[in-house]
């Protein structure tokens, strides 16, 4: 059954207003867009075959904006949702890498060569993701900062620009979110 496509502009607005179903649909659409864009750009980039995440997000934004026209909301609002989708892509990627590593006899070797704690594995990423969802209930802004910085790799400066606050404010938000998530995952720290 063919569903009439909602413009992403409309989905964004509805999601901002608390429409849960629009938000879900938005995530699905963005996921598809990001994937498509990554494939396109990977082809264009030629031999390197790779493409940076933040650039990917920017390009996708431009692509959708030019398609939907002048009424498309600004970058900052878009990035909030897109970075959330990116979180999912990052976790998927980690999951695939982990599956690849589980090669039985090679597992111990590969753990040896990887410095413990160097790679954040898929399990912890999932926990972080859940903790982020819980955090988003209280404070969407903080969760967004983590999505933008940790999962999508934007710098504090870039995030500050998007959020129209000072870089120091973003740092503080990051530290607050960090403390909160740490508590969710590791429990209350001793005095």
């Amino acid at each position: 059954m063919e569903e009439p496509p909602s413009s992403i502009t409309a989905l964004l607005t509805a999601a901002d207003n608390g429409d849960g179903m629009a938000k879900d649909r938005l995530f699905t659409v963005l996921y598809a867009e990001l994937h498509a864009m990554a494939r396109r750009e990977a082809a264009r980039a030629g031999s390197t075959g790779a493409f940076g995440v933040t650039t990917l997000l920017h390009e996708t934004y431009l692509h959708i904006a030019s398609r939907e026209g002048a009424r498309f909301p600004d970058r900052a609002r878009f990035m909030g949702y897109a970075a959330r989708v990116m979180r999912g892509l990052v976790i998927d990627h980690a999951r695939m890498r982990r599956a690849a590593k589980r090669g039985g006899q090679f597992e111990i070797t590969s753990l040896d060569t990887e410095a413990a704690g160097q790679l954040v594995d898929e399990r912890e990423l999932n926990e972080i993701s859940q903790a982020l969802d819980a955090l988003a209930q209280h404070d969407q802004a903080l969760a967004d900062v983590v999505d933008l910085k940790f999962f999508s790799g934007f710098s504090f400066d870039e995030i500050a620009t998007m959020r129209t606050v000072s870089e120091r404010t973003i740092r503080r938000q990051w530290e607050t979110a960090r403390a909160y998530i740490h508590r969710q995952i590791r429990g209350q720290a001793p005095a």
Binding site: G18, T55, A136, R172, H182, R186
Partner: protein, 903 residues
């Protein structure tokens, strides 16, 4: 069960952010101040600080996860005459790469900035390159040269810039701990660069600290001159969807008001940005404040908000240097209207040089009158809206005084207080001095009011103003339920003075309605203090006075319904304490009537929402007063309103959640197993079912929503309670549903733990009935573990967790034929109930508490009989009877007292 409190989180978050940057000593001090007002807030923040320290030690989230895609390496690629060498970083506009000349001819290194923008069509690209060439002609030792502008094969625009190895100017100054004078020196160099560009008709448009670098030789270099204009889509004057996307650099935080509101960009725009930079250099803070805020709030701050005096927010060591002329210079650069600033940057530079030479500057500071005027016109509430009220007071008195051509001394007093208020207002903004600042206001104001009173003589108009002044000061000092310092006795003194003056005015029939209004406020405030102190005799007298005044006020045509609603609500609470439940319910109903009237006159969702809330509050009071029919009617009306609102605003799921909540409240009134109800079980089940269905539906569309989760659990719990006798298996399923949902929410939260304890305990009954004893024991033990932290201090909360646990244990003990154990469970609870009367759980004041007590007596009686202690049983029966009689006497009109209490 209430929803998780967003204001609470916001408070915790703000305070945490604030103290994070403080030195340990300053942090301790700050938290100590907070602890006086709100101990649990201080505790939560302390815990979070500990947590953060651990997170840092663990290097938590320091390493970023592997990403599915990697940054492309542009290494070796050529753009113009440059070849890319390595990645420098990511800025606000895009990625920056380091490059060198391909032909190796000059030593010069360049930075290539790839811009994340779309150039519209071929025309866009040509314009970009053309404008880039114009900018490239700007050559100055203090300006980073734009070497080339181009568009890559992928159609991405890029800029080739002189590579500057330096740090942002604010960091530079902090790292070298430069004093104020040295910073001004450095700043003057920046200004000279900007002046040069202006002579060449180029406005920067995006001056900010990160665009002003200082290189290894201590030379200032400005970046990105005019690039903001380059990045605009389309020509100046084209329509844009977002004012901030046009005309503004990419950093709205440093934007001038005209940039943000779409006005004309001139050299004065750069003056403003320079003013912001200077402000930051001198104080370390942004003039609009550093709290995180929404886009709209920031815009408002830029356009409307007045920056504080730099000397007020600067670090201690700088204050005396900055105070005075330097303040004036910065503020002039930051004026909202471009015409009031320095028109050309050289004007700014000149004044700074004059300051350096201790010569008089050209800028004039604002006059007191000007500042007072601006201050009064602002409608932004600073920390403590009372400050604004006091400011209003001083202005009112100022105006009054001017009109009366008063004596010199009094006039100077007014000026003093105005100045004081200004200085203090800046302190308040720096948060650290909030309480101290308010206390200063209070002291100054009290002195002032005292002196005015002795001067006032027969001047009734002045006395009216003084009375209003005392009222406002009292609010700050300590009127409960308003933000205050907690000095109740002092507040009482101020209120007494206000009241005395107002009575005098009343006797003189001066400005009758307004005087009456203020008198009602004064007496209402006093009654709240009496209530807080549980001073019942005083409260009784006060309420009598208040009732008379209110009755009179209601008849006046210009009456303020908002005030009446507030006073009715406050009276309702106080009167309950006096044991006049019926009257309390009446006043609550009158508050509701007032709200209904307001909603009728100006129907809006907000008004309807307020009415729905008011009806729910009324229903609570009514239920406690045994007026169950009224409670049912009120809740039914609220439901109709909320239904209407969910139709009007279908996307707003909060209305639906409120609908669910209210349905459940109605269910409890109809047939609560745990409190006063009408005993109509079938109707109750229907209401609970409905609440649960809505909760489930909301949760289905947004599974993460905590409020929905809470509602869902609440509904399942109450429905389970209602049917646990009829259908234990289904009840258990519902309890399990509630438990699952609650377990899914993070613990350590009263709103989640207490209900979970309740449901776990209640669920043991059906579990045992189904012979699943082991699970029942596990659950009961888990409930006890969860309840532990809440039982530490005997309080209403401890009762909330003790009640279900002790009942469950006692019931089990009876089933195991250990009646003496059951007896001790019940007795312990009954004792704690009695000892907690003072904590507000008095079975003689509220029907809900009476229900709990009565039920407990019954259970205790049964256990005693089973244990063969018939004499004691008789005593308890008598106690229960006494309680019932007491209530029948208390609520003679209610048909429900007996049925509720004898259940």
């Amino acid at each position: 069960m209430t929803d998780a409190n967003p204001d609470r989180w916001s408070a915790v978050h703000h305070l945490f952010s604030e103290v994070l940057d403080l030195s340990p000593a300053a942090r301790v001090e700050r938290l100590a101040t907070v602890r006086e007002c709100d101990a649990s807030l201080a505790l939560e923040v302390e815990l979070l600080i500990q947590q953060h320290a651990q997170a840092v030690r663990d290097r938590f989230l320091d390493d970023e996860p592997e990403r599915p895609v990697h940054e492309p390496t542009l290494e070796g690629q050529t753009f113009g005459t440059y070849t890319v060498k390595s990645l420098l970083g990511q800025g606000g506009m895009g990625t920056v790469w380091m490059a060198e000349r391909t032909d190796g001819r000059f030593e010069r290194r360049a930075a290539i900035k790839f811009l994340n923008i779309a150039l519209v069509g071929r025309g866009g690209e040509e314009r970009f390159m053309r404008e880039g060439r114009i900018l490239g002609r700007l050559t100055h030792p203090r300006i980073a040269q734009l070497l080339d502008a181009g568009v890559s094969a992928h159609r991405q625009p890029f800029l080739v810039l002189e590579y500057i190895d330096g740090v942002a100017i604010d960091r530079y100054c902090d790292e070298r701990a430069l004093d104020a004078a040295a910073r001004v020196e450095l700043f003057l160099e920046v200004v000279s660069a900007v002046a040069f560009a202006h002579m060449n008709l180029i406005v920067h448009r995006d001056i900010k600290p990160s665009n002003v670098l200082v290189d290894r030789d201590g030379q200032v270099k400005l970046l990105d001159f005019g690039i903001a204009k380059l990045l605009q889509d389309g020509d100046d004057g084209a329509t844009v969807t977002h004012p901030t996307q046009a005309g503004v650099g990419l950093t709205p935080a440093f934007a001038a008001p005209e940039q943000v509101s779409g006005g004309v960009i001139t050299t004065a725009t750069d003056v403003y940005a320079l003013g912001v930079v200077l402000f930051v250099l001198l104080t370390g803070k942004h003039p609009a404040g550093d709290e995180p805020r929404s886009h709209a709030e920031l815009i408002k701050a830029i356009v409307d908000g007045e920056p504080p005096r730099p000397s007020a927010v600067a670090p201690e060591a700088f204050r005396s240097v900055i105070r005075g002329d330097l303040d004036t210079i910065v503020l002039k650069a930051l004026k909202k209207a471009p015409a009031e600033r320095y028109g050309v940057v050289t004007g700014l530079a000149d004044d700074l040089r004059r300051w350096r030479r201790h010569e008089p500057i050209s800028a004039r500071p604002d006059t007191v009158a000007y500042r007072i005027g601006r201050f009064a016109r602002r409608n932004r509430i600073a920390v403590g809206g009372t400050l604004l009220l006091l400011a209003g007071l001083s202005i009112g008195l100022y105006v009054v005084n001017r009109q009366r051509a008063v004596a010199e001394t009094r006039f100077r007093l007014v000026q003093q207080i105005a100045n004081e208020l200004f200085n203090v207002e800046q302190d308040i903004k720096a948060l650290a001095g909030a309480t101290a600042a308010r206390e200063r206001i209070v002291k100054t104001s009290l002195d002032y009011l005292e002196r005015l009173t002795s001067d006032a003589g027969g001047d009734l108009g002045l006395k009216a103003e003084i009375a209003a002044g005392y009222l406002k000061v009292a609010e700050v000092q300590g009127v409960p339920r308003r933000m205050n310092l907690g000095h109740l006795d002092q507040a009482r003194v101020s209120l007494g003075k206000a009241e005395a003056l107002l009575r005098e005015l009343r006797d003189a029939r001066f400005d009758r309605t307004r005087t009456l209004r203020r008198l009602i406020q004064a007496v209402d405030f006093e009654s709240r203090i009496d209530y807080d102190r549980r001073d019942l005799p005083a409260l009784t007298a006060r309420i009598a006075v208040l009732e008379a005044l209110v009755a009179e006020y209601e008849m006046s045509r210009e009456r303020d319904d908002e005030l009446l609603t507030e006073v009715f609500d406050s009276m309702s609470t106080s009167i309950i304490e006096l044991g006049r439940l019926d009257d309390a319910a009446t006043y609550a109903r009158r508050a509701t009537d007032a709200r209904r009237e307001a909603a009728r006159r100006m129907p809006s969702t907000a008004a309807r929402g307020a009415l729905a809330n008011s009806l729910a509050s009324y229903a609570r009071v009514a239920r406690n007063a045994g007026r169950l029919d009224d409670a049912e009617r009120a809740l039914t009306e609220a439901l109709a309103l909320l239904e209407r609102m969910t139709v009007d605003e279908p996307a707003n799921y909060r209305w639906r959640l409120n609908l669910a909540n209210t349905s459940i409240s109605l269910g409890r009134v109809l047939g609560d197993a745990d409190g006063p109800s009408l005993g109509r079980l079938d109707d109750a089940i229907a209401a609970f079912d409905r609440g649960l269905a809505i909760g489930r539906a909301v949760l289905a569309s947004d599974a993460k929503e905590n409020l929905a989760r809470n509602n869902h659990a609440l509904g399942a719990w109450r429905l389970g309670d209602a049917i646990r006798m009829l259908d234990p298996a289904r009840a258990l399923a519902l309890y399990d549903e509630a438990i699952a949902v609650l377990r899914g929410t993070p613990g350590g939260n009263f709103n989640r733990d207490v209900p979970l304890v309740n449901v776990l305990a209640e669920s043991t009954l059906p579990l045992r009935r189904l012979h699943r004893d082991r699970e029942a024991r596990e659950r009961l033990d888990e409930a006890k573990r969860l309840a532990e932290p809440y039982r530490k201090t005997p309080s209403q909360t401890s009762l909330l967790v003790d009640d279900p646990i002790s009942r469950a244990e006692a019931d089990w003990a009876l089933a195991l034929r250990r009646p003496s154990d059951a007896v001790s469970w019940h007795r312990t609870f009954a004792t704690s109930l009695e000892s907690l009367k003072a904590a507000g759980a008095d079975p003689r004041t509220e029907l809900t508490s009476a229900f709990v007590a009565s039920r407990r007596y019954r259970l205790l009686t049964e256990a005693l009989i089973a244990a063969g202690q018939t004499e004691e049983a008789a005593t308890v029966v008598a106690k229960r009877g006494e309680l019932v009689q007491f209530w029948k006497h208390k609520l003679p009109g209610s048909p429900y007292v007996e049925s509720v209490l004898m259940r």
